[in-house]
Structure formats: C-alpha cells, structure tokens
C-alpha cells in the first residue's frame, strides 16, 4: 500500500536531492554535458555579487513581508473573533486572494502599478504626488512587490490564526472578565499567549514560502529592466541560472546553499520556540 508513494517519492524527490548535491560539483552545460569541477561552483558562488544581492533581496522580502503580514492577519483574526456580526462574510472575502492564481494577481497589480496609466498613480496624483515608476525604479520595486505578497497571503494566514483563537477555551476569558480585565488586556494576556502555537506554524510556513518567492517577482519585473537585479530573489536567480542561462551545475550549488539557509533558519526557530510558544 505504501509502494506507490514510496517509489514515487523516491524517484521524484529523494533521487533529486542526491542529484542536486552531486551536480553542484559539476559543470553542467548545454545538452547536459558534465565535467567534474570540485568546489568551483561554490567558490564562484561566494564571489558572485549577483548571488549576494539576491540573497540580500530575499532577506529584505522576509523582513518586509513576514512581520507585516502576520500582524495584519493577527489583528484581523482577533477582530473577527470579537463577537461581531457578519463574521463568515468577512472571512470569505479575506480568503479570496488565497484562491487566486499568483500569475493573475501579479498581472493585475502590475497594471495597477503601471507608471503611466496605473490607478495607484492616479490616486497619488489626486493628492498632488507625482507619478512613480513603481516596477522599474530599483528603490520602489522591492517594496511594491512586498505589498502584493502581503495582500495575497494575509487572508490565508488569518484563517489559520482564527482557528487557533477559536480553539482557546472560553473559561479563560470568563475568568479574565471576572477579574475585570478589559478587552485589550484579555487580548494580550489570554489570546496572545494561547494562540502562539498557531502563530508559530504561520511564522515557520511564511518564512519558508517567502524565502522561496518566485511568481510575483518573475511576473512583475521585466527581465532586462533596471529593477531586475534589485528585486531578484534567490529562487528567481536559481531559476534563471538553471533554465535561462543553462548553468545547471551552478544552479545546483545555489539550490544547496538556499536549502542550507532555510534549514538553519528553521532549526533556530524550532530551538527558539520553547521560549515563547505555549502548548496547553
């Protein structure tokens, strides 16, 4: 019964892991011509300014997106849980971006960010702010993409946090209310500590997925544009090396490096969780 999955995972997931590690020690050129090159890919990678920039960009995305997104998701989730009317309506609407194709989201936002005819610039103009080239200005493009990413993931994570908040036993709130705690204090002393397991799950998954951002960047930034290097994430740079520049060996080294970074980050999170995550 486990044979199909085990064999499938073996061929399409296990073997690839070994293969990527092996390939990272080879030059793999066009038509898959291979020649052993030892650590050369790694040496080249550590000296590659574009790699360091895309790693830096990736870190910027993580720092811009993850805290803001989690904060928004948490605020929305706790507001929805405060006994208001129309909760399920709000929940459904907020979830819509989560079922919308990333490529389409990127297309619509590119159009809204458009430097000449975009609605966002039209709104800025109303307030006397001149039009901005959001997606070709290297300083603005990365924050602009981050906004799109926050927009498309906040609702999804809000659902997870809301489920966590709803799982908190009512008795805690009753006890707090008897002690005269205001709604703000209830939030900080009951809701927040007890929702930490969900918060931890959201943190880990969104860190990992933000580290692997691809769709939005690939779709929104033109390949030859000024903003390309200023917005390229590690995964986009990996993709370009593997499938556009046809440097599969180098791309493999990049993949290994990315994996190591994600691994270290996850281990740190796992170790750190005992300090702030409360399991009942």
């Amino acid at each position: 019964m486990i044979a199909p999955v085990t064999i499938g995972l073996g061929i399409f997931y296990f073997y690839p892991v070994l293969k990527v590690i092996l390939d990272s020690f080879y030059h793999v050129g066009a038509f898959n011509k291979r020649s052993w090159c030892g650590l050369e890919n790694y040496q080249k990678m550590l000296k590659d300014p574009v790699m360091w920039q895309s790693l830096g960009n990736t870190c910027k995305y993580v720092l811009l997106i993850v805290p803001a997104m989690i904060l928004i998701a948490l605020v929305l989730a706790s507001l929805l849980n405060s006994g208001i009317k129309g909760k399920s309506f709000f929940r459904v609407i907020y979830f819509i971006p989560a079922v919308t194709m990333g490529a389409a989201v990127a297309m619509v936002w590119s159009w809204m960010y458009n430097g000449n005819y975009g609605i966002i610039n039209a709104i800025l103009n109303l307030f006397g702010i001149p039009s901005q080239q959001f997606l070709s200005n290297p300083d603005l493009a990365l924050p602009a993409i981050s906004v799109v990413s926050i927009w498309s993931t906040a609702g999804y994570n809000m659902i997870i946090l809301l489920a966590g908040i709803q799982g908190i036993s009512r008795t805690y709130y009753e006890a707090a209310a008897i002690d005269g705690a205001s709604r703000f204090r209830q939030f900080f002393h009951v809701t927040l500590p007890l929702v930490t397991p969900s918060l931890f799950f959201v943190l880990i998954t969104s860190l990992i997925s933000t580290f692997q951002m691809f769709d939005t960047i690939y779709m929104m930034i033109s390949k030859s544009g000024l903003a390309m290097e200023a917005t390229q994430s590690m995964v986009v740079y990996f993709y370009r090396n593997a499938f556009e520049y046809s440097k599969k060996g180098y791309a493999s080294a990049l993949a290994v490096f990315l994996f190591v970074i994600i691994m270290i980050m996850t281990v740190i999170q796992m170790k750190g969780q005992s300090k702030w995550v409360n399991y009942e």
């Binding site: 999955v5 085990t6 819509i96 919308t100 490529a103 389409a104 659902i159 690939y218």
Partner: protein
C-alpha cells in the same frame, strides 16, 4: 461603559471594512478594465466605468492564445493531481498509521525528511527526469511529480491515527482484509481529511507557475498560469485583453470557492491544527 463599547465596535467595523476594500479593489479594477477599450484604459485621469462594456475583449484572448486548450490542460492536470494524490497518499497514510511492517519507521522518517526540503530544490532534477522520459511538452509532464506528496501522506496519517482501534478489530472479526478495512471502513471516516487535502492540492495545482513554465514551452501545452506569464512576456500592452485573460484564469477556482467556501476554509484551518 456602554458608549465605550459602541465606539469600540464602530472602530472594529471600520478596520474590517477597510480590509475588505483593500482586498476587493484589485478584483474590481481587473474586471472593470477587462470591459474597457484600450483608449478608455489608458486615458488620464482613468475612466472608472467603460462607456460600452466590451465583451469582445474576452474573445480576443482566444485569438491571441490557445486559451481553450490551456483551460483543458489546467483542468486535466489539476484533476489528475488532486485525485491521484488523494488516492495514493491515503493508501500510504493508512498503512503508516494502522499496519505494522518492518522498516516502517525508517521509511516514515525519510518521508518526513522530504517535507523539510524546499520545493525549488527538487525542480531541476525533476525536469531532467521528465526530459529523459521524453515527456517534455506533454500533459502528463504537468502532473507526474505532483502525484506523490510527503505532506499529503503526513496530513492523512494524522487523521487515520485518530480513529479508534476497535473499528479494525471488529472488521477483522468479520473477515475484512487490510484493503477492505481501508476502503470500506476507514476512508468514509477520514472524509474531512481527504477533502482538506484535495482542496489544498487543488489550490496549488491550479495556481502553480514555476513547474508548468519549465516543462511545457509550446502555448498549446501550457496551463493557464503559464499562459498568463507567456502573454505578459510578449510585451502585449493591450491591458483590457490581458485583464480579460486574468479574469478567465481565476474564475473557475473562485466559483468553486464560493460553492465550497466552508470546506476551503476548514481545510486550511485544519492544515494549521494538524500540521
């Protein structure tokens, strides 16, 4: 006290409705643009509503791209991915949760290890495998690696583990073998888990971009997602037609979501609790 409560509620509604506006506006703008003429879309300041609703923009998408084929490819690929993954993962998950066999722990640990690896790590060798199998630029290329999922197996195992052991004992006394226990007794009981996995997989399979982009390069074999990227890459500046394409690409999943919203939202919430 009562007044304070009232003000508090008003603030909550203002924030929540503000959130709704931010969420919905891009969709409204996408739909409005898709019905405009190119001139209306590029006039400054922008015209909010089209004078005459240009339904023909939607037809133009089909002239520009083999959009019907792309629909077909996406439906087949997503359909096979979802049904294949649910079937294969549930089989394995049942065995991992309920049957003792040698080497089980080692295999399961390996499976957990796959869960830790970022998806972009697999993609290059997966591409080379598909290439070696001679499947590049075919429909099966779109779904083959996605039929197998460590995450799905892990998720469903949690559901099978939660069922009481007496069920099996009773079934075995009645002469059921493992396969019958799985298909007749266990499967109906883990339905919510199967639905959750199906929905998470559908969301992924319908929307995924990188993999379809890599394996299938001729427009006739592309998914909708890759088709949109292809359209964007052509430097087409006919914004209304592009928006019409985007609307059509997202519509099927949005319709499914409006019908099965409860299952979608529960599925996601469950992945947070069980995961």
């Amino acid at each position: 006290m009562k007044r304070k409560q009232k003000i508090f509620n008003i603030v909550i509604y203002v924030v929540l409705i503000g959130g709704i506006l931010v969420t919905v506006l891009p969709f409204v703008w996408m739909i409005l643009t898709s019905f405009k003429t190119q001139n209306e879309a590029t006039v400054i300041p922008p015209a909010i509503f089209p004078k005459i609703w240009q339904i023909s923009n939607y037809g133009k998408v089909f002239e520009m791209l083999p959009f019907g084929k792309m629909y077909f490819n996406t439906i087949i690929s997503a359909g096979v991915t979802v049904s294949g993954q649910v079937l294969l993962c549930s089989l394995a998950a049942y065995a991992f949760a309920r049957i003792h066999f040698p080497g089980k722990n080692i295999i399961f640990t390996c499976l957990l290890a796959v869960l830790m690896v970022p998806s972009s790590f697999f993609i290059l060798p997966q591409y080379q495998l598909i290439q070696k199998m001679g499947l590049l630029d075919t429909i099966p290329a779109l779904f083959i690696p996605n039929l197998f999922s460590a995450f799905g197996t892990f998720l469903l195992r949690q559901f099978f583990m939660a069922l009481p052991g007496e069920l099996e004992d009773a079934a075995r006394l009645d002469g059921c073998n493992h396969f019958q226990i799985y298909s007749r007794i266990m499967m109906p009981l883990v339905r919510s888990g199967l639905v959750a996995l199906g929905i998470l997989t559908l969301r992924f399979a319908w929307n995924d971009l990188m993999w379809p982009l890599i394996v299938n390069t001729s427009p006739k074999k592309m998914t909708l997602s890759a088709g949109l990227a292809f359209m964007q890459g052509q430097h087409i500046t006919n914004y209304p037609v592009m928006m019409a394409g985007a609307v059509m690409a997202v519509l099927p999943l949005l319709i499914l979501f409006t019908i099965f919203q409860k299952q979608f939202i529960e599925g996601v919430a469950m992945s947070g609790i069980k995961g």
